[in-house]
Structure formats: C-alpha cells, structure tokens
C-alpha cells in the first residue's frame, strides 16, 4: 500500500495532497497544471516535498519530521516518463536489463522473456532507441520499468506523446501490464477515455488539491 501525504510549494503554486492506493491501477486524474507530475516525482524521490510523508508497504520513504529521505536509487519504484527517456547509447536489450544490473538482483531470464512477449518487443532487442517509433519506445520503457522488479510502477502520461491511433495500439499493453504483472500502478493522465480503460481507482486532482477519490464513476 502506498500512502502519500505531502505539501510542496512550487513558485506560486501550492500542492497539498493526501491519498492512499492499493493494488491495481490508481489514476491521478486532472487538468494539466494540477500538480500530477510533481506528485509522481515526489513519490519517485526526484523532487523533495516541503512537508509530509510517503510510505510504501509500511516502509517510510520520506518523512520530514523524522528526517527520512530514501534516495531515488534505493526506492525500487519503476517509473515510466512521458518521453520514455530510454538511454540512447544502449541497445533496447541493454535498456531492458539496466535495472537488473543496477539493482543487483539475480538474473531472471524467464521474467525477461515474459516481459518481452507481453510487450511484443522481441524484434527490437538489438536496435537502438533512436531507431524506434514513439509507440515502440514507450513499450520498451514499460518493459524497462517492469524488469527492475519494482514494488510500485509510476506512469506519468505515458501515452501523451503519441497520436490517437498509437494510443489505441498501446492501451491493450497497459491493461496487460496492470493485470499480469501484479505490481500496483500509479497512472497519471488527463484523458478520460484512457483513464476509463486503465483505472481501478481514481484520485481527482485540481489546483494542487485532491477533490475526490473513488471508482471510475468519478469521470
């Protein structure tokens, strides 16, 4: 279970949110400028909250009162960014196994093959990210995050850079990822159609505040 209770001032914008999420996909839904990406970055550890705490499965990742701030690389939270952020100098295969090498956990060829099959990226393994289409790039980014064996997956508008056709192509993979991988997901989006397909729970955000939490009926 993830518990987020954080405050952060970003210029004139004040972010103050409290929410919890369990298994399945929790969608942070709201217009751009609602603070969704900042929340993702604070859960990942890339941005430091001013106050509050972040807990994952009982472990405190951040707590300003207790002066706890677990560094990003120790949090084991898989993150998929809007632009994919694949390493341009590494092959697709090396991108996929990067988290495995850095995390120091034992090689798991079965998990690798499974993720490659799940995301249909077998033919891409020897290519470089520069030669991939937008949709392929995001699929590899999903695989890279999944193969680090994360405790939680953060997906920050992973389809935002794709056109409508590509989105329809990728959505089934995201559903598979949600149902198959059994890793809880926090999914950021401002697209109701996308949210309806992915969400098991919705946290609605506006102007840096949580305005409602509930099921897909919130849309």
């Amino acid at each position: 279970m993830l518990v987020v209770e954080i405050e952060k001032k970003l210029g004139d914008f004040a972010l103050s949110v409290l929410f919890a999420s369990e298994s399945g996909a929790t969608v942070l839904f709201g217009p751009s400028g609602a603070g969704k990406t900042s929340i993702i970055n604070m859960i990942a550890g890339l941005l430091k909250p001013d106050r509050g705490r972040v807990m994952l499965d009982g472990e405190v990742l951040f707590d300003d009162a207790a002066r706890i701030d677990v560094p990003v690389w120790r949090r084991r939270i898989g993150t998929v960014f809007q632009e994919g952020r694949l390493f341009p100098h590494l092959s697709v295969k090396a991108n996929l196994t990067y988290g495995h090498w850095m995390g120091g956990h034992a090689a798991d060829p079965a998990a690798f093959d499974h993720a490659v099959a799940l995301l249909d990226i077998g033919p891409l393994l020897d290519r470089r990210p520069g030669k991939l289409s937008g949709g392929e790039r995001q699929r590899v980014a999903f695989g890279r995050a999944l193969l680090m064996k994360p405790r939680l997956l953060l997906l920050d508008e992973p389809l935002a850079s794709l056109d409508a056709g590509r989105k329809q192509e990728i959505l089934p993979y995201l559903e598979r990822l949600r149902d198959d991988a059994k890793v809880p997901m926090i999914y950021v989006s401002h697209d109701p159609a996308e949210v309806k397909r992915i969400a098991t729970r919705v946290v609605r955000l506006e102007g840096g505040k949580v305005t409602a939490t509930g099921g897909v009926e919130l849309l």
């Binding site: 949090r75 990210p129 520069g130 995050a145």
Partner: protein, 231 residues
Amino acid sequence: MFDLSPQDWIAVALSLRIALVATAVSLPFGIAMAYVLARKDFWGKSLLDALVHLPLVLPPVVTGYLLLITLGRRAPVGAWLADHLGIVFSFRWTGAALACGVMAFPLVVRPIRLSLEAIDRRLEDAAATLGANSFWTFATVTLPLALPGVIAGAMLGFAKALGEFGATITFVSNIPGETQTISAAIYTLTQVPDGDRTALQLVLVSIVISMTALVASEWFARRAGARLHGA
C-alpha cells in the same frame, strides 16, 4: 634522404611518451574538473574556472617558471616530494610530462565540460529510478553520453602536449635523451649551422604524428556519435 640519427629518433619517441603520459594523466583530472564546473555551484567557482584557464592565457614561460619555483629540486614542494615520496620532476622527462599536462589542462577540460552541459539530465534521473547510485549513473549514462567531448578533450590535450615548448624548456630545460622533445630538438637544430636538413625531417615527422592523431580522433568521435544517434 631520410637520415635521422638515433638521437633524433629518441627525441621523437620522448615526445610521444611525454604527450601520451601527459594526456592520460590529465584526462581523469580533466573529467573531474569538467564535472565540477558543469554541475556544481559553490562559492569561488569563477575563481576556479579562471585558475583552470590560466595556463592558456599566461605566457608559457611564466607557467614553466612557476613550476620551477614550486616543484624544482630545491623548491618547497619539489623538495618535499623528493624527500618523502621520491618523486623528482626537475630535469626529468616526468617534469616535461607535468609541464605539458598543465599547459594542456584547459584544452582538455573545455570540450568535456561543454558535452556534459549538453546532456539531458532527465536521463540521469531515469537511471536513478532504475537503481543506479550517483557513481553508476555517472559511469553508465553521463560519461558514455559525454564521450565525444572526452575524445575531443584528449585529442586537443595530446596536440597541445606534443607541441608544448615554452613551459617545458623553462621547467626541465633541453637535455637530449631526457627532456629534449621534437620541438626542442628542432629549436636546437635551428641554432647550429647545417641543422636545417635534420630540422625539416623532424618537422615532417611531427606533421605525420599530428595528422595521424587528428584522423584517429575524428574516427573515434564519429563512431561515438553514431552510437549515440542510433546506428
């Protein structure tokens, strides 16, 4: 027609050795300095920046003289190094390498710094989320992405070290077989009658070395660039 004496060839070999050692030793320091200047903010940063560039703007003889009065055999630092660590720079080829390394340093730092500044920091964030601590992020993402700059820095440093004259001759003099590089040998030959022929041959040798280094670095840089852009 090509009749360089063994002593001339020694000057050539010595030049190569000095330039290679100066480049190899200044490269790690250059990368570290470039990283600090590109990424860190601290009090006195512009002073450090100016200090790094000093050998570029000072007359080489001044740099050589400064080395002589700090690291010479009887100078405070030089004497300490010799007595306690057995390291002697003055009138040795190692001193020539040191002088060349110091003179080349700003040229090594600059391209590396520029390529570090051009790196998309968000890729480093991505590496951190995948479990890479700052050392591994640097080793597996930052440094490979900055490789074209590192190659350019090494190449410029090598070229500068190969051509260095003023600081070297001031610091370690012009001793055949120990500190006499191609440049110093050519200079000496221009001072004696009938030296022109040999001097010209040494000039040819130094052109060949420089061209080879230039072509090699172009090739490496192109390969590194192609790797980054998905070939």
